[in-house]
Symmetry: C2
Subunit: 466 residues, 2 copies
């Protein structure tokens, strides 16, 4: 049998695609990486995944694993060689079981995030991971990239929401680690090693996820502020007053919300333009009235202390959604304005104000006229610090010419402030060279040793991350 025939035999002819229009599999979400796959294989079970890996190993064929293909760093599409097998897991989309008393759910890796959320909600439970792509991204991709999103402040990243994993190793063996245990100190934490490894060590095929009780009520508020230091002080105040009830703390710069105002004029903005707008979300285990009273007291104190200049509390679920919708419309408003140079960075919360002030100034000096789209998850120190071409410039051409020097300026500053060049999007193909330059040689040495140990043939998503 030829290699292709062997692959076909493992998954069935209907689920092995060669030739024809494979753009949905070969082109990444941001349309920056277009590759060509040797074949697209779509297994339905963990055993089929293991069989595919073993066939690929026998033929020394590299494997790129793909879920919803919504990643932002080019880690889930094949390269241009035409030699990589694209392993798409979206047929593995079953919820394997829910244990409500244990607050866990076990799922196939190809389950769409929103399906996981909905399944938990139908039991009166919460799976809190939430991000823009939730309607199409898969939980396997969320775990392979350690996705973040808007609820990290309270519930953690994807890795904190996963108690157990099932993984097909680079040798095509199955590690069945689907435990629903809160504590398990029996050896190295393989789960945390595979989470965030972007398909370079093995294939995540299933997961046991941690659920929470649904809060009795949630409430949203907006506040406007003069400086990011005030935003950090408001964050501290909110953390002290609301404790773990504070589930979201998003910041939006004036220019970012201005783009939303310009491109989505139908979206009401309840507060006047200001240097910074913060969105606070609270989850309450008692009642909506209790949540509202806590928010009122918090914002009153913040006004008295001069931390904020104005605020609005959502009076209904619709108003809450409308506030979130403003925040979530920023990426789309940016896109309409034209391609931009994106930075998904993290900083110590205490250094954010100084970082932004000094880096804004340096960018405007070095690249006159650039427009700074700044928003993100301030509670986690995570900014989407994006640079838009000067007004009137061709955005694509500007990106082509200035992406590298802009990145260098921004990432150098991130390094000086002890930050991270990838907070929640990962490394993939996009930031691989930057990682090699900027990560400490000792850390890179440890990572490469682990890669060689678990994937000695180098077949798992080569060219990504390392």
């Amino acid at each position: 049998m030829s290699f292709a025939d062997e692959l076909r035999a493992t998954v069935g002819a209907a689920h092995m695609l060669e030739g024809g229009d494979l753009a949905a599999y070969e082109l990444d979400w941001r349309k920056r990486f277009r590759g060509r796959a040797l074949a697209v294989v779509r297994p339905a079970t963990t055993a089929e995944v293991a069989a595919v890996v073993r066939v690929c190993v026998a033929h020394a064929a590299p494997i790129v694993t793909q879920g919803g293909n919504t990643g932002l760093v080019g880690a889930s599409v094949p390269d241009a060689s035409g030699k990589q097998v694209l392993l798409n897991l979206t047929r593995m989309n079953q919820v394997r079981g829910i244990d409500a008393a244990n607050l866990t759910m076990t799922v196939d890796a190809g389950c769409v995030l929103q399906h996981v959320q909905d399944t938990a909600a139908a039991q009166g439970l919460l799976f809190p991971l939430s991000l823009a792509a939730e309607g199409s991204c898969t939980i396997g991709g969320n775990l392979a990239t350690n996705a973040g999103g808007t609820q990290v402040l309270r519930y953690g990243n994807a890795r904190e929401l996963c108690l157990g994993l099932e993984v097909v190793t680079a040798a095509g063996e199955i590690w069945s680690g689907l435990t629903g245990l809160r504590k398990d100190n029996t050896g190295y934490d393989l789960r945390h090693l595979f989470i965030g490894s972007e398909g370079t060590l093995g294939v995540i095929t299933g997961a046991t996820l941690k659920l929470s009780p649904q809060p009795a009520a949630s409430s949203t508020a907006l506040a406007v502020l003069a400086t990011l230091d005030d935003a950090v002080a408001l964050l501290q105040l909110a953390q002290a007053r609301l404790g773990a009830g504070l589930t979201g703390f998003e910041v939006m710069g004036r220019y970012a919300l201005g783009l939303v105002r310009q491109h989505f004029p139908q979206l009401a903005q309840p507060l006047p333009p200001a240097p910074w707008t913060v969105l606070l979300e609270q989850s309450d285990s008692e009642s909506a009235a209790h949540a509202h009273a806590l928010f009122e007291a918090l914002l009153e104190t913040a006004l008295e202390r001069g931390l904020i200049t104005d605020a609005a509390i959502a009076a209904s679920l619709e108003q809450s959604k409308a506030m979130w919708h403003l925040r979530e419309s920023i990426p789309m408003a940016q896109s309409i304005e034209g391609q931009n140079i994106k930075h998904d960075i993290a900083l110590p919360v205490s250094g954010i104000n100084e970082f932004v002030a000094s880096t804004d100034a340096a960018l405007l000096r070095a690249f006159p006229g650039v427009r700074l789209v700044n928003f993100g998850h301030l509670g986690d120190g995570n900014l989407h610090y994006n640079v838009q071409a000067p007004e009137g410039e061709d955005a694509d051409a500007y990106l082509q010419r200035f992406e590298h020097p802009v990145n260098t300026l921004v990432y150098d500053a991130v390094g000086r402030f002890g930050g991270s060049i990838s907070a929640e999007h990962g490394i993939g193909a996009l930031k691989r060279d930057e990682l090699a330059l900027r990560k400490s040689p000792v850390a890179l040495g440890l990572m490469r040793a682990i890669k060689r140990a678990l994937d000695p043939q180098g077949l798992m998503n080569p060219g990504r991350m390392l």
Copy 2:
């Protein structure tokens, strides 16, 4: 220079101990493992640790790292060969810095846990890791063993409280990963690999820890119940009502509290003996009155539903402490009663009732007269499920004779229920053989590959875990 002279040169003659009474370093806390060190070296800085490791590597000498030497599985004392170098880190006991706005603290690995807690408290902040040995265990040991304790339900294990690490590798290089970032997706999570690795991959020399705001008030209650299923139902109710405010949920069996009554008659027990007693702890970001009202409503509902038969809410901080003191006196009461066969196990919370009922019965059939000391962190599914010799038997002789068959019965049952044979104490020397027997061959293969990759000479705490 001789090997000993080289070691002396790295740390200074005063901090290199040979001969004399080294029992404090060579004997473990439970007095079950007594080894003999080639030498005890006590470096004061990370650079000295790295130098010691390089000297040991040059002489192919194995290294056992030790913090407060309070571990329960024999991972922090040398073996009997007289060839292992004991690296004690308690001279590295400085708090390197606190960043209150970032809610982080960076410390040397040799800092005593209570010192870390006190330093946070002095800033109005909370470092929530809390366990019986906190007055002498070190944070490095807590991280190397991924310690648990009484606050895991709300704040997680030691690994969830650590944002960054500094590690001396098996090659004597320094990985400076002391980030205070909440999000950092730049490659494999080395931090989580070293946490819980029990000194077998490198030496943790420093950590950046995650702090929380101090709650405005905390409150404690006791409740008595007929069955563990009722306890699980009470846990679910408390999680729904209190959300993240529920910080502790401990369970104590009748016989365990009976031992406390017998050996510490001066400790008042506010509720009558019952099959099970639960201790609930709540942290409240509002006020003591608010916490009390929530507890009253919760326990009233639990009484109405027949989940509990009686309850008592602490009316003061002293009463809260007295309730915790009952719980914390169980291990000592056990010790007074005589050596016992300890099992630190975790189970899915939903399976605990059935596990205990069936395993209790099986133990009593197989080992007539044994007394079952059962207590633990029910909220995490973590039981200290201990077996005491029958009344009148010599406890040491019983342990000698029956430890292995009792372990086999218990661990077989743990396996059938999808549990873990080490929830929070680790593997060390004590459970190494059990791990090799009971962990899946694929997982063991991955762990061994990682060990070989990061410690190719096998010098880091050999004979422990793997």
